[in-house]
Symmetry: C2
Subunit: 252 residues, 2 copies
DNA sequence: GGCTAACCTTCCACTGAGTGGAAGGGGTGT
DNA sequence: ACACCCCTTCCACTCAGTGGAAGGTTAGCC
């Protein structure tokens, strides 16, 4: 009379990853029921899986009983080649750049059709922006994203260009116009955005090249729309990007 | 005639975490066979699980076919409360401290009976040390570890004191002597080590207190054994630790 | 070329790990 | 006292997971 039919096709691995994926920037602490709902799993199933994850340190419980991402996952993540070498090499340059511009500084890589922000520096006086370390945004409305898109394989460009959606009134949604911009990004060596992601904010970004060759990341800053010393900013960015590119030690 | 008996008691979750746990500081890229061996799983089982993890972005494959930790895990790890607030709040103070001392700077928390290094700054001129961001070391032979141990629950202290093993000729292995040192750490407000972890390296560390209350982390520096301006170093550390403690915004 | 060795991948019959509805606490608000 | 929500335990059913065997691929060596 019991006989439980689990949704077919679902594997334990996918269930576990669905549970982990329930956490994001705005949901860092989740109750069991929220986890179950967000992962689309029955509560008892979520309970058992989450309990086991917690027993292994992959998740942790707050004093109030909510679940949070555990330290094991954090120290695992640190081993990801996303950042091996790159983040450490870039750190001093990012600080110099912040000191020189007092603008929000971003270091990002491309992850599929999104920008993945690896590091961010911003002070009290910087423009508020949506990006945070570890978060992902579309490529086309951000400065670092345009740089990464301009140097991405054709296949990726086609995919991105085919699904441009408006975010602010200034977001570029015409494929032809974006494609022209990307060509300019390649020839000029830098990209700019004007309130395409956030009203009141402009950005300037440059590629980071390993050994003056392949583009491995992008370095960008976000400034208030009224700021008008772009040439100086581009110069500062290029110096920093060049420094980072020369400091990257290890491959992959 | 087939009939496969999986090792009883092993769950998929534990198998998956064993696979992920196969990666560490010195094994960032692993082949399938190495993964299977390190996780103590049959190759076909490892193959299937690892393949599924890779399909979800939890692992990635290098062009040469080896597996590495994927970006999904990295961005998940960034959400861990290990660092939420703390790392960002501490960053500027760590840089100031590095500038003031030119020593390797560490920010660490206690994870069970180990130190977990959250951040590290070191320059070319710093003493070489074993710690890296995300790595764990025993509590008793490190400066930050002593601070964290001194403010840990009695239960943890007992456990650590009962298993002191020699690492260098200077490592403290007598429980009574270490216990006396911990008392001094609490009364003096700082801890020191003298070549207990690495020959040629000494360290000084202080607690980071949230709202001048509970100890949430430790801040330490590693200097060559011959350096003798300890009072100045302690003062610089305490200023920085105080600053960090006041900057921590969000709880837990 | 042929042989050996090591690694990766696919196949598939067996079975116990995983499943989830049902039911039992515990807390809080009305 | 009742209603509501969330967490936890129980357990009969069954399908997802398992891993030995076999085939494929690549590399090195005589």
């Amino acid at each position: 009379m019991a006989g439980n039919t689990s949704r077919p096709g679902a594997t334990v691995v996918s269930r576990v990853l669905a549970l982990l994926g329930a956490f994001d920037e705005t949901h860092r602490r989740l109750t069991l029921t929220e986890l179950a709902r967000r992962a689309d799993l029955p509560v008892p199933t979520a309970h058992r899986l989450v309990g086991e994850l917690a027993a292994h340190g992959a998740l942790a419980r707050t004093p109030s009983g909510e679940y949070v991402v555990g330290r094991q996952i954090w120290s695992l993540g640190v081993l990801a080649p996303v950042q091996t070498g790159l983040l450490e090499a870039a750190s001093p340059f990012l600080h110099d750049l912040y000191a020189a511009t007092l603008a929000t500084v971003h270091l990002a890589v491309r992850d599929g059709t999104q920008v993945l922000y690896l590091d961010r520096l911003s002070g009290r006086r910087s423009v508020p922006v949506v990006s945070t370390v570890g978060s992902r945004l579309p490529l086309y409305p951000t400065g670092v994203g345009k740089v990464l898109l301009a140097h991405a394989p054709e296949r990726v460009q086609v995919e991105v260009l085919s699904s441009l959606t408006r975010i602010t009134p200034h977001t570029i949604t015409q494929p032809a116009r974006l494609r022209a911009q990307l060509a300019r990004v390649r020839s000029d060596g830098y990209a700019t955005t004007v309130e395409e992601m956030t009203l009141g904010a402009c950005s300037v970004a440059v590629p980071v090249r390993r050994n003056e060759a392949e583009v491995v990341a992008a370095l960008g800053i976000v400034v208030p729309s009224l700021r008008r010393d772009r040439p100086r900013l581009v110069a500062a960015l290029q110096v920093a990007a060049h420094g980072i590119g020369r400091s990257i030690s290890d491959g992959s």
